[in-house]
């Protein structure tokens, strides 16, 4: 046989996996070789089978033609066995034998992979489930490869299936176990948290038990270390509820509460109650302990799961802190109430009143305080104390009020009373009765409040109102009187005027008569005018509308002014006026000079008017120091007049009062002068009084305060300079144009009229030609040509005109030595001013000379 044939046979064997002997027609060596090859092949095949068996795998092979169509499918026997089939009969060598067995969930992906591998190439590595004959679905891992024709179409698709069901299951088991482990961890963590929360919540509780109320048995859930040993002993030794509870109550619960606790913890009752309400708790006190623990609380909570048995959680805890809090807050509230009541002077009381028995009254602390009873003597029954203080006239009424409250509910009454040494007080009593009072008699309760202030206030206000009313009525009366007086006083001169007019009309031809009438009419009209003015003055003063203008003034000036007004009148009546001014420390004052003048003229005027013929008026002005910046000016005006009756003196300052006899003028003034004077003096904060003797004369004393004007000096200096020179006419002699211009400008700035001369001769000429008094002052430079200043001054002084001697002459000189000054003085000049020119200095000097004018 040729080698080609051998190879073909071998190929065939491989393809069909049928081992067939190779027909041998060759030489001996070749045959031996072939035998060996056969053996090898069979060996390999056995090995392969073993491997497959070992790893539960099978094989497949698919053959394709050039067109890519399947020509043959070979499933390995092992594969068949794996699937539970025996031979080609029940599992044919067809593709669909396999595809039919694919698990629906895996079919699509597997087939896709298959086609992909076959058509396009690439690795075939898939995992899928196949339905086995007897074992249901099993997992298979298939790995295969495609051999291709030259053109790329598949030629052979072959591979291995491995049953990986066991591995898969194992993996799934592990996975499941891991998940479970995680869940367990979570649960455990949750449990731990719950446990912690529970622990925190029941920290309070000394001990917690789980009690089965049916069986009466209990388990200890928790017990703190702080529990006294005896308690824990009870709990441990007895696992029976009834016994343990009984022992506990006996050992620990206070006598007062023992019965109560026994009742509350009785098993049957507890079971019923806990079923109904879910939770039962109550408080009790324990017997005295060294550590002062006192208040405790038992708590039972239903945790039954079924209706058959009742299981509760029982806990016990100390509630001292809670109780203290409650106690504290209660005390606080009480204190607050007490404080409020005490602050408002209100006391609370309650009264028990039974027929035939004396009433019993309890009062609180404030009540006793109001009655003036010291705390130590707080009496049990203060009824008598209370009643004794009530003003007698009101006692009956107060009792009536109490009685009325029984029937009609809340009543109130204010009544006067006095307790202890206290003066009269007023209390307001409020009372109400308690309805449905168990027992006989009545229970009244209420309050007292000290309303003395309120009542007194009201009384005061009423007084004030009454007074105000009276004042108003009085004022009205005065006004009416005033009006009637005034009307009379106005009518008189008017009638006079009308009378005189009639006379004038009737005697038209009598010229002297006409003149006489006119004079008298004028007199009357003037009098009427002054009357109206005075009335206005007075009314303005009274209404307070007079606006006071404060200004600085000189007391001497004011007095001088007054004198100048009054002297003519005095002279007419040949009355001598003596004007003495003593101790006037501060002449410049601040106040109302106008009003001062008015006062002085009024008084002095009267002194003159009501004087004897050739009498005298002595005026004395004195200044005394007041406090701080004030002085008092005291005026004493004494006259040798007719004097005044004492009766009249009392009314002298009222309007329209006059003692008409002896007044030296035909009309005795308006009668308002003194009223106005008094009002002015009052307004200025001063005083006025008088003394008088009939036939001898009167003396008025006026005292008025004024502020010292300290600004005086500064003011006058500042004021003097620029403006006092205004209107002066100055003759200026200066040869130098520049200097002259400077002087002229400066002077003209001060509103001084300037006439210029270029030298002394010109100055002399101008002055000679001027009117007397035309020039106020001559300013001359000393050094001038033609005639210097000194010479010119001498010549001017020589002139015969009246102002030649008096006209002020100022020398302007660069030299300021004593000698030069002497020269200027000798020349007849008044002032020596040195150069260079100073405007302020010049004005200061000029001002002097203006004043003297």
């Amino acid at each position: 046989m040729e080698l080609k044939e051998i190879i073909r046979c071998l190929q065939n064997m491989r393809e069909t996996s049928v081992i067939a002997p190779i027909p041998f027609r060759g030489e001996g060596d070749c045959q031996q070789l072939i035998e060996e090859i056969n053996t090898l092949i069979m060996e390999e095949e056995r090995k392969a089978k073993m491997v497959h068996q070992l790893i539960s795998s099978g094989m497949w092979t698919m053959h394709f033609n050039h067109q890519g169509e399947i020509t043959k499918v070979v499933w390995s026997q092992e594969f068949r066995f794996m699937l539970g089939y025996e031979n080609r009969m029940d599992f044919p060598d067809r593709l669909d034998s396999w595809t039919e067995l694919l698990h629906p969930e895996d079919r699509e992906s597997t087939l896709e992979a298959y086609w992909h591998a076959v058509k396009c190439g690439g690795k075939y590595d898939v995992i899928y489930r196949l339905k086995t004959r007897y074992q249901g679905y099993r997992w298979f891992h298939a790995i295969g490869e495609t051999l291709r024709w030259e053109k790329g179409n598949p030629r052979l698709f072959t591979g291995v299936f491995i049953d990986i069901t066991r591995e898969k299951e194992q993996k799934e088991n592990i996975q499941a176990r891991l998940e479970m482990q995680e869940q367990l961890n979570e649960m455990s963590h949750e449990l731990e948290m719950n446990n912690e929360i529970l622990n925190a919540l029941c920290e309070d509780y000394n001990s917690i038990y789980i009690v089965n109320l049916d069986t009466g048995k209990y388990d200890i859930y928790r017990m703190t270390d702080t529990l006294p040993k005896t308690v824990s002993e009870i709990s441990f030794t007895n696992q029976i509820y009834d016994v343990a509870i009984s022992q506990y109550i006996e050992r620990w619960v206070s006598e007062n509460d023992a019965g109560f606790v026994r009742y509350m913890t009785e098993r049957k009752r507890l079971k019923r109650l806990v079923r109904e309400t879910g939770r039962v708790s109550f408080r009790y006190c324990i017997k005295e302990r060294a550590d002062r623990q006192r208040h405790f609380e038992f708590c039972f909570c239903d945790i039954s799961k079924t209706l058959d048995e009742t299981v509760v959680v029982m806990g016990a805890r100390n509630i001292d802190a809670l109780m203290d809090e409650k106690e504290d807050s209660r005390r606080e509230t009480l204190e607050q109430v007490q404080e409020t009541l005490a602050g408002s002077q209100t006391g609370l009381w309650s009264l028990r009143w039974e027929e035939g028995k004396a009433p019993v009254m309890h009062g609180d602390r404030t009540l006793h305080k109001l009655m003036g009873i010291p705390e130590e003597e707080l009496s049990f029954n203060c009824f008598r104390d209370w009643v004794s203080g009530i003003d007698e006239k009101y006692r009956g009424e107060v009792m009536e009020v109490l009685k009325r409250s029984i029937a009609n509910g809340f009543q109130e009454i204010v009544y006067p009373c006095s307790y202890g040494k206290k003066e009269q007080m007023y209390f307001r009593l409020g009372v109400s009765s308690k309805k449905n009072f168990p027992g006989s008699g009545y229970r009244l309760s209420g309050y007292w409040q000290d309303v003395t202030d309120t009542v007194k206030d009201k009384q005061d206000r009423e007084e004030l109102l009454k007074e105000a009313l009276q004042e108003a009525q009085q004022a009205n009366k005065v006004k009416t009187e005033f009006l009637s007086h005034m009307s009379h006083d106005i009518r008189t001169p008017i009638n006079g005027i009308l009378g005189l007019l009639t006379i004038a009309e009737n005697e038209e031809e009598d010229i002297s008569r006409q003149k006489e009438c006119r004079r008298k009419i004028r007199q009357s009209a003037e009098h009427l005018l002054s009357l109206v003015n005075d009335v206005l003055d007075l009314s303005r003063l009274e209404s307070g509308k007079q606006t006071r203008v404060e200004e600085t003034f000189d007391i001497h000036e004011v007095l001088d002014h007054c004198m100048s007004i009054l002297l003519p009148q005095a002279q007419l009546q040949q009355i001598k006026i003596q004007d003495r001014r003593e101790e006037i420390g501060y002449a410049r004052l601040r106040g109302c000079p106008l009003q001062l003048r008015q006062i002085l003229i009024n008084i002095i005027g009267n002194a003159i008017k009501y004087n004897k013929e050739c009498g005298s008026v002595q005026i004395l002005t004195k200044e005394t120091q007041g406090c701080e910046n004030t002085v008092w000016l005291e005026f004493e005006i004494k006259d040798t007049g007719i004097g005044m009756k004492e009766e009249f003196q009392k009314h002298i300052f009222e309007a329209f009062t006059q003692e008409t006899q002896g007044a030296r003028t035909s009309y005795a003034g308006t009668g308002l002068g003194m009223a106005i004077t008094k009002k002015l003096v009052d307004q200025m904060g001063g005083t006025i009084r008088l003394s008088s003797q009939i036939g001898e004369g009167s003396c008025f004393f006026v005292r008025l305060p004024f502020e010292i004007n300290r600004q005086e000096n500064k003011e006058s200096v500042e004021e003097g300079q620029s403006f006092d020179v205004a209107g002066m006419h100055v003759l200026l002699a200066e040869d130098n144009e520049l200097n002259r211009e400077i002087a002229q400008y400066v002077l003209e700035e001060g509103k001084v009229e300037v006439t210029c001369a270029a030298n002394g001769a010109e100055a002399l000429e101008i002055f000679e030609k001027s009117e007397p008094g035309e020039m106020d002052c001559i300013i001359m430079d000393v050094m001038m040509p033609v005639m210097d200043g000194l010479q010119a001054a001498k010549e001017i002084r020589k002139l015969s005109r009246e102002d030649a001697k008096t006209i002020p002459m100022i020398a302007l000189s660069a030299n300021a030595f004593e000698e030069d000054r002497k020269k200027t003085r000798e020349a007849g000049m008044n002032q020596h001013v040195s150069k260079p020119l100073d405007a302020n200095q010049l004005f200061a000097i000029l001002t002097q000379y203006k004043k003297q004018k």
């Binding site: 040869d735 700035e749 405007a839």
Partner: protein, 118 residues
């Protein structure tokens, strides 16, 4: 340049002058007029012509004006010269005149500068 600066530049006393004369307007007017003042010219002429009287009067006038206007340096120089001339017209006067001239020239130049700057 303002008036105060002009004064400053020629060593004159602006503040003092303002205090005395109170009006800047006046000062400016006179300062500008100073340019036309004949006193210095008369002084110079007087000295050149040996006219004692003229020189003295002119010096005196110049002193007066300078002092009035607060031209300190010129004023002082003029004052010195005036005192000398009061006694005699001699070499001292001529020497002192040179100082007056310097100060006067400075003053004039400064005032002209001020005028130009207005």
């Amino acid at each position: 340049m303002n008036l105060a600066e002009c004064y400053g530049e020629m060593g004159a006393d602006y503040q003092g002058t303002m205090q005395r004369l109170c009006s800047e307007k006046l000062i400016e007017r006179i300062v500008l007029k100073f340019l036309e003042d004949p006193s210095f010219g008369q002084l110079q002429e007087g000295l050149e012509m040996h006219n004692h009287q003229q020189a003295f009067q002119a010096a005196h006038t110049l002193k007066g004006i300078s002092q009035n206007l607060g031209f300190t340096k010129l004023g002082e120089a003029s004052a010195e010269l005036t005192d000398s001339l009061r006694k005699a017209l001699d070499s001292t006067a001529y020497v002192q005149f040179e100082q007056v001239k310097t100060e006067y020239t400075t003053a004039i130049r400064t005032i002209e500068k001020y005028r130009a700057g207005k």
